[in-house]
Amino acid sequence: MLEELASTFPILTCILFLPVIGGVVLWLFDDEDMVRTSALTIALLELALSVFVLLRFIPESAAMQFSEHVPWIPALGVSYHLAVDGISVLFVGLTAFLAVLIIIYSWDTVRHQVKLYMMALLALETTTMGVFLSIDLILFFVFWELMLIPSYFLIKLWGGGAERHYAALKFVLYTLLGSVFMLVGIALLDINYHQWATLRHIEPTYSFDLLELLSVPIPLSKQILIFWLLFLGFAFKAPVFPFHTWLPDALLEGPIGMAVVLAGLKLGTFGFIRFSIPLLPDASKSQTVVTVIMTLGLAAILYGAIMALIQQDFRRLLAFSSISHLGFVVIGLFALNYQGLQGSLLTMINLGFSTAGLFFIAGFLYSRQQNTQLSSFGGMAKQTPLLASFFLFIGLASIGLPGTNGFVGEFLILLGTLKANWLYGGIAVTGVIFGAAYFLWYYERSMLGPLGKAVKESISDLHPREVLIAAALSVMILWIGLYPAPFLRMMNGSVQALVDRLERGTVASVESDQPVRVD
């Protein structure tokens, strides 16, 4: 009885809409502390639901689980279809986890318009969840675009920099420009489905459902066109080099909470593994695509790392390190083998702990010195040992030190890439060295050595709330680093299915504009 109830309970819908409904409830409160407490309660509830999904998730399976399917615009084949599989399930947990930490962090760092801030944050959580949970492409696009609105206001109204208006508009325009092309790509997938379904008299004749779209063949020429259209959308968002210039601006000017979401949740690369690669396996395999994307990925690794090396501002450094890490994710994805895909997926999750963690550290630094310029730090380790230790630990995780989560992911990616092409793999390895260099150099200059001129004697160490954030992240980092099996088990089934799909291609791919009938 209870089991039955649990299986029909629309838990994903609850996860999806709990934050935004909670956000509306916040409207009723006037007291700021009340607002903070309720926001935290909602986020914790959300985390509990997500953990429940993670626990009930059947690992080693490629199936879409917790599927909820309600027709929305049946005539166009748009449906409200939510589900999780091995690819997306971990992101759900990660989003909920980070949301809790962001709210804890914002407890006393956000001082004006607290209610609106929390509402925007919760709305952002809903849209992010929507991106991870949607199986229908239009539904996915809905959340993808809606995310822009709270993001815009978060950067614009609560950003710390003087250029925040510029950064907010740049971010929104950049992302929108990519997404409108993605929308055309999605429309093309639908049109292709329509042509195929009309020929075979299958009802409904339109569909935006990922599972339906997977079942139809797409001619190679069309696949390549659609691939590049989708690529624009995902690459602008990721951001893949050379479409990255919004990222340093947005991260530097926006509030820390927003930066954690932007840098911690790799929506762009998630789009690749969720839609581009499975839907367009033949295009993804094609020589040009692989070469171009591998080149961009490698360029991003080296470019990001070298740029990070000389940055004076810690948040700008993190922005470029984030671009560098994304390069790893991208080459892992387009190695198109089991290790590469698995490593990329795991690295996306890892970055949610390590890069996001470093942004929290940046936030801690910011709330002490009102900026994150190198010149305001120096020798902080003596004054703030706790901050320095967590900084080092999370930083080492982002470098990929064995024993931390970063190592597992990066190792798998390098393995996969070397297997696919030793040259690419070889170049990627040098990126790891740079990665260590920029972090350690910055750490040395800011935390070690004599006390910096701008550092006051009275500077305080982490207070309990901050320790809680850093400790929670550290636990996750250690857990994945030392015992990644449960996480890998969750994604195994889906990754294996994806590899099979890549080998098989779409049902039949032909070099013509007319879809063939497959009987």
Binding site: H244, T245, I306, L309, I310, Q311, A437
Partner: protein, 129 residues
């Protein structure tokens, strides 16, 4: 001179001593060959990122602005101009023709007579056709 053995050795092989003291200059060599060029490259790339890549983005914005200026110019001079020139022409013509309304009876009578002749001419023309 009461030097200990190491000091004596150091004094004797000064060059070798300095090399050994500086660990064969490996760190300096490393700095020179590797670290400094990388930093330079980093600075170069930073310049590249700010001027070229971000410049391209701004160039797109500039081009959009340029199109905007061009469109607005067209709007003002072509689209509006074409419409308004009709109104203006009408206005000019009216300014001339209103002088016919002089208020003097004999002017009007002359116009009526002229009109009658014109009418008759037209009728005749039509009859001939």
């Amino acid at each position: 001179m009461n030097l200990s053995a190491p000091d004596r050795l150091a004094a004797r092989f000064q060059a070798a001593y300095r090399i050994l003291l500086n660990k064969y200059y490996v760190d300096e060599l490393y700095d020179l060959l590797w670290v400094e060029p990388t930093k330079k490259l980093g600075l170069l790339l930073d310049w590249f990122d700010r001027t070229v890549i971000d410049g391209l983005v701004h160039a797109v914005a500039q081009i959009a602005e340029l199109f905007a200026a061009g469109s607005t110019w067209t709007e003002k001079h072509v689209i509006y101009g074409c419409v308004n020139v009709i109104g203006y022409g009408n206005h000019l013509a009216a300014r001339q023709w209103r002088q016919l309304q002089s208020g003097m009876v004999h002017h009007y009578a002359a116009i009526i007579v002229a009109g009658l002749f014109l009418l008759a001419a037209i009728i005749q023309l039509i009859m001939q056709l």
